[in-house]
Symmetry: C2
């Protein structure tokens, strides 16, 4: 195929990244694992995680096969489809497998790193930090490396970005299961462990007598490592697909084939720049850490962002030099693209640090929430909830700023590149995020392995650094998802335009069908969230019963004479999570499908647009309200307003418990939801365009008919 | 002016309605008021209500004058404005005064009817019901009558619906203050009274020793009578304006001037049909009531809806007969309009009864929430919240159904008529709604007047009937607001089209400015809600302090030896409500103004569309979650799951307290918010169109520039 030589940077970056991931994996798995108790509990966690993944992947295999057949059918027997059915189905399957593989390896390393982290904490902060941070980095590097190499290979072999759409759809479907399933799992266990163990029987956090303690630890890993990793991978790939498709079709007319390829390759090239930046960032963080691991993590993110600006400028310069200037000189366009990418990563930082402001317990919002705990349960809820709603305002301004600049740079292609830029440093973001559950687990294992008070304190400080970093990465994740689906929406409209015929597409809200699409799209994220929150509740109820049963039938457990049956709790969380996933998973694909079939291509466009808006609103609300309640509770537990055991503390726990499914189940799952819906729209566009010329089964007369 | 003779039905209906209102007012005020204690407390309530209204109206007078000057300036010195500046400003002022007058009279009757209701309850349900229902009906009949006669007069004098826009904007601005101010007031007092009186000092509900008790009663009146009444009045007028403007401009080309007037008059004519139906409905309800006042109220709504279908068919027939069939025969159009109106009122019923399902304690959702109280505070919150989110789904389907049918009937004009149809029976709806606080107050006065247990029980059953009716009317209010603003959006686009030039307007989400408008519009309702919720909290905090202060400094109050200082609590609620109103009030006008000025006419259209969507979502969520918590608490208090004093009850109270500002402050205020924003857009359209040809100050290049 014809290509720019610059594209070779992509497999090089990916290879370096994957190599480094396996190198760090070796380092983590060869570290000393800890004492007997710790290794035993770690064994349970590993077992639980493997059991969940095994069962999850079995269900997923059936699901992936089913969707692959549908894709094959749609693309083979549809007049509008230009891609080969079997190859599209295959790309889809490969995307699924790649995402599943990355999740599996990351998770394995995560559950292996927890105990060694606790053990290393005996030697101080830095050694312990490095074990856990390297454990997280494996996930970050693998996710990015595998994503990039998969896209590059498909592009290299087929010469067109079309099949990458299938790859992306595959990765997204897995992400939806991993994120929503992991989210239900982790909060089932967490809420279950807290409600009975902590509140009814006064056990301390992470006590090994609590039968749900292992499930809780497993949950942290499947929710935050596998779940968040595949969530970001899915946005990462989707943003690249959108930008490449737009580059491919927009420069179709204006440029020759070499130039066209330069523009469809550009997003990949700046992603390679981002990957190199992330690698350097990861190395720097591990050198930087001394006493304040939280600052080191955030400094790493900043360094990676700045480096991204520099390296992508260098790569852009090289691309300008190597791209022919005939028939038109596109070098100005390349530089504008670079600017859009830089503003993208800037917006990511704004959103990330806004999230941090609203959830950090040194800042005003969390302090206000903490103060409100003195006025009881209801006021605590109202305070956190209303602050969460308020936090939407600055966050959306970050998105709007990036959109305006990117649009001035290069229109829809500029916006797509802003999304790519924001996600370019995803290696760093995922590393920081996966670091969290490792340290969380390590604290628990240090407790259960009866390590010294000082060691536990070090684990504590590592854990709280994880929470700080998590605030920033969550903001990043939601901003990236919004911009990515926006880019997907534009590539969807471009494809529709090319199938239906020039200049025909608009998402005009004055047409009734489009308005209806907008109304339906708007309600999907809140309804989806409601289903997930109810799932956690139902499941947590079962967990509560099981824990109570064990304590009642085996009183020896509470006295420490009998072993708690961890496996049954793990089993309840696993089964429940998979069972409760069915409706949300079907909904995420069925809602855009039904809208597209009934009301047509334009209605579906408006559906996507409004789902971005409300998805963003509820995502930010859930994340920030949940975060502020969580940290307000910690602030109270640090001895403020009466400290542990006070009535303020009881109210703070209520806030935290309400916030749990908000911030760890519903909120982050919305990112994957809107991404899956955006990709479903693009994947099945050929189907919608073949129904009444893209107008859908219910053909509402258009506005002009009444004038 | 040229007109259809049918239009004379409008002043006749309005006159009958206003006459009946004053007749009922006489009946209520001449009823026996009760014993000395009751009259004394009633005196405090009257005083408190008058003090609030007086101070509120003083602030409002300044605000109205300020906006009137701006309107005068914009319409006088703008090249695009065809209306006379002074007349538009005058219409605006008249709209404000009319709305303020209706609110004031309704409130006066309401605070006069409470004690007589309690006194009449000694003679049984029916007499007591009639006093309170007639008290509410005064508000219902006045609001509708004044609204209709104002519109008719302006139309009659000026011959064009344009000035009614000013009238509507005036009424809406008042509604925003009344609803949001009343909402903050009522929950400040309610939460304040509950938190200290009930929870800290174990006083029963409505105990006269509670210094916040009077403020609580005043709050019910200013929030639910004056607030809800002006909220519905504002939707009512706005729906009429939108439909009349659309009728005027759409039939501009196709018909002669008589036909054109027939179509701009049609919405007014079916509103007259609705008013006659409401009057009959009100009479029927007062005859129907025997033992089940709740059923009587809902039966009245159904009867009014059915009668509306019949009477509006009759009026349509008369209009068909009296309208010339040249140059084109428009009788088919008239019948389709009739159908759209009928589907509008049908959708209102669907939404109303869905709301009832989600909040009635005989139905599953509230039972589930009540059961959840056994699992503590957090699970109670999560359950009510997620059920509230789920209730959005059936509710939006009601709107979508009405939209689809109305669009098939007559496009945008059909949708506007569906909104008019839904609001045609607003007389009944407001009557039922205003009935609520009267009976709520009467229960409190029966308690304080030491009437017999049996009498209090009767007052209780009247009160709970009010809650049932309230669920239906709230659903109606939010559905009507959504459809109305949709109609306003269409009339806005029609006006913009006529100013900027034929066929030029589309709200195409593929243009960056429009997309940005959509994103900004989407966040306004949640951010606005957050500000109101925080306002309630801040103010309730002050109230709590005052109540505590009185109990501490005057221990005699608790023993019943000293009188509580009600006036100070009333004062805190009054001052706080007005103070906290400033930011939301500015926001509701500034947000569309800034969007229109910066990003132009099309961006503002998308802004309105998405504000309808998220306004609807949050409105339904707040209303239904709040309602289900409220009734779950009542269900627990009826002796279920441990009854009063149990831990389930404590959790139920938390739910109810969180729900209070949700359902009585934020939720219903959103209706007024989206209405005011829609009217602001239309009022200042001439300003936006004169900035860069309607493209705004920040002119984003359009999509085609990059293709």
């Amino acid at each position: 195929m014809i290509e720019t030589p610059m594209l070779w940077l992509v497999p090089i970056a990916a290879a370096v990244s994957i190599f480094l991931a396996f190198f760090l994996r070796k380092k983590v798995t060869s570290a000393e694992a800890g004492n007997e108790d710790m290794v035993r509990i770690q064994g349970y966690i590993k077992e639980g995680a493997s059991a969940f993944i095994a069962r999850q992947y079995k269900t997923l295999a059936v699901f992936v096969a089913f969707i692959a057949v549908i894709i094959w059918l749609v693309y083979t027997f549809n007049e509008h489809a230009e891609s080969e059915g079997w190859l599209m189905a295959l790309s889809y399957a490969i995307g699924s497998i790649a995402s599943a593989f990355a999740g599996w390896v990351g998770l394995q390393v995560g559950v292996n790193a927890n105990s060694p982290t606790a053990w290393a904490a005996q030697r101080g902060i830095a050694p312990a930090f490095n074990v856990s941070f390297f454990g997280g980095a494996v996930m970050g590097l693998l996710v990015t490396g595998i994503g990039l190499i998969g896209i590059w290979l498909l592009f290299y072999i087929t010469g067109s970005p079309s099949y990458i759409l299938g790859f992306s759809f595959g990765a997204s479907a897995i992400a939806l299961f991993m994120k929503a399933g992991g989210g239900i799992y982790t909060k089932t266990a967490d809420v279950g462990a807290d409600l009975v163990g902590k509140l009814e029987f006064n056990l301390p956090e992470d006590d090994s007598r609590n039968p749900a303690a292992v499930a809780d630890n497993v949950g942290d890993n499947v929710g935050d490592i596998a779940g968040m990793g595949s969530d970001l991978l899915d946005s990462y790939i989707a943003s690249l697909v959108a930008a490449m498709l737009l580059g491919f079709s927009l420069f179709n007319q204006a440029a020759n084939v070499v130039q066209q390829h330069a523009f469809s390759s550009y997003p990949l090239i700046i992603s390679a720049a981002g990957l190199f930046s992330s690698i350097v960032g990861i190395v720097i963080v591990s050198k930087l850490v001394k006493n304040s691991p939280g600052d080191a993590l955030n400094a790493g993110t900043l360094v990676a962002a700045i480096l991204y600006g520099v390296i992508s400028a260098l790569f852009s310069l090289l691309l300008v030099v190597t791209t022919p200037t005939t028939p038109v000189d596109l070098s100005g366009r390349i530089w504008l693209n670079w600017l859009a990418g830089v503003f993208g990563v800037g917006a990511g930082l704004i959103i990330g640090f806004t999230t941090n402001y609203f959830t950090d317990d040194n800042q005003k919002p969390t302090r206000i929430t903490a103060e409100a705990t003195q006025q009881g349960h209801a006021i605590t809820i109202l305070t956190g909830f209303s602050l969460g709603l308020l936090s939407i305002l600055p966050t959306i301004l970050g998105i709007v700023l990036a959109m305006v600049v990117a649009w001035f740079c290069n229109g829809v292609y500029g916006i797509a590149n802003a999304a790519v830029g924001m996600l370019a440093i995803v290696g760093t973001i995922v590393s920081n995020d996966a670091y969290g559950p490792i340290t969380d687990n390590s604290r628990s294992l240090a407790e259960q392995g009866k390590l010294s008070e000082e060691t536990i304190k070090i684990c504590d400080s590592l854990d709280s650094a994880g929470n700080t970093a998590k605030a920033v990465t969550k903001g990043f994740a939601i901003g990236a998802a919004a911009l990515t689906v926006l880019a997907l929406l534009y590539s969807y409209s471009e494809e529709a335009r090319s199938i239906i015929g020039g200049g025909a597409i608009s998402f005009n809200l004055l047409d009734a069908g489009t308005m209806i699409g907008m109304l339906i799209g708007a309600i999907i994220p809140p309804v989806y969230s409601a289903i997930l929150i109810r799932a956690v509740q139902k499941n947590a109820g079962k967990m509560v019963e099981e824990v109570r049963r064990q304590f009642t039938e085996h009183p020896g457990i509470l006295e420490g004479k009998e072993k708690a049956d961890y496996a049954r709790c793990v089993d309840i969380a696993t089964k429940g999570a998979l069972q409760e996933l069915t409706i949300p998973a079907i909904m995420s694909i069925a809602a855009p499908l039904i809208t597209g079939v009934l009301f047509g291509v334009e209605a579906l466009g408006a559906f996507l647009a409004s789902s971005i808006a409300t998805g963003f609103i509820f995502g930010v609300l859930f994340g920030n309200a949940g975060g502020t309640w969580d940290n307000a509770k910690k602030f109270v537990e640090d001895g403020n307003f009466g400290g542990k055991g006070s009535s303020a503390h009881a109210a703070a726990i209520t806030g935290d418990t309400v916030g749990d499914p908000f911030k760890d189940t519903a909120g982050p799952s919305i990112n994957t939801l809107i991404c899956v819906m955006g990709l479903t729209a693009s994947m099945f566009l050929v189907l919608f365009t073949s129904i009444n010329g893209g107008n859908g089964l219910i053909q509402l007369p258009d506005l002009a008919a009444f004038l």
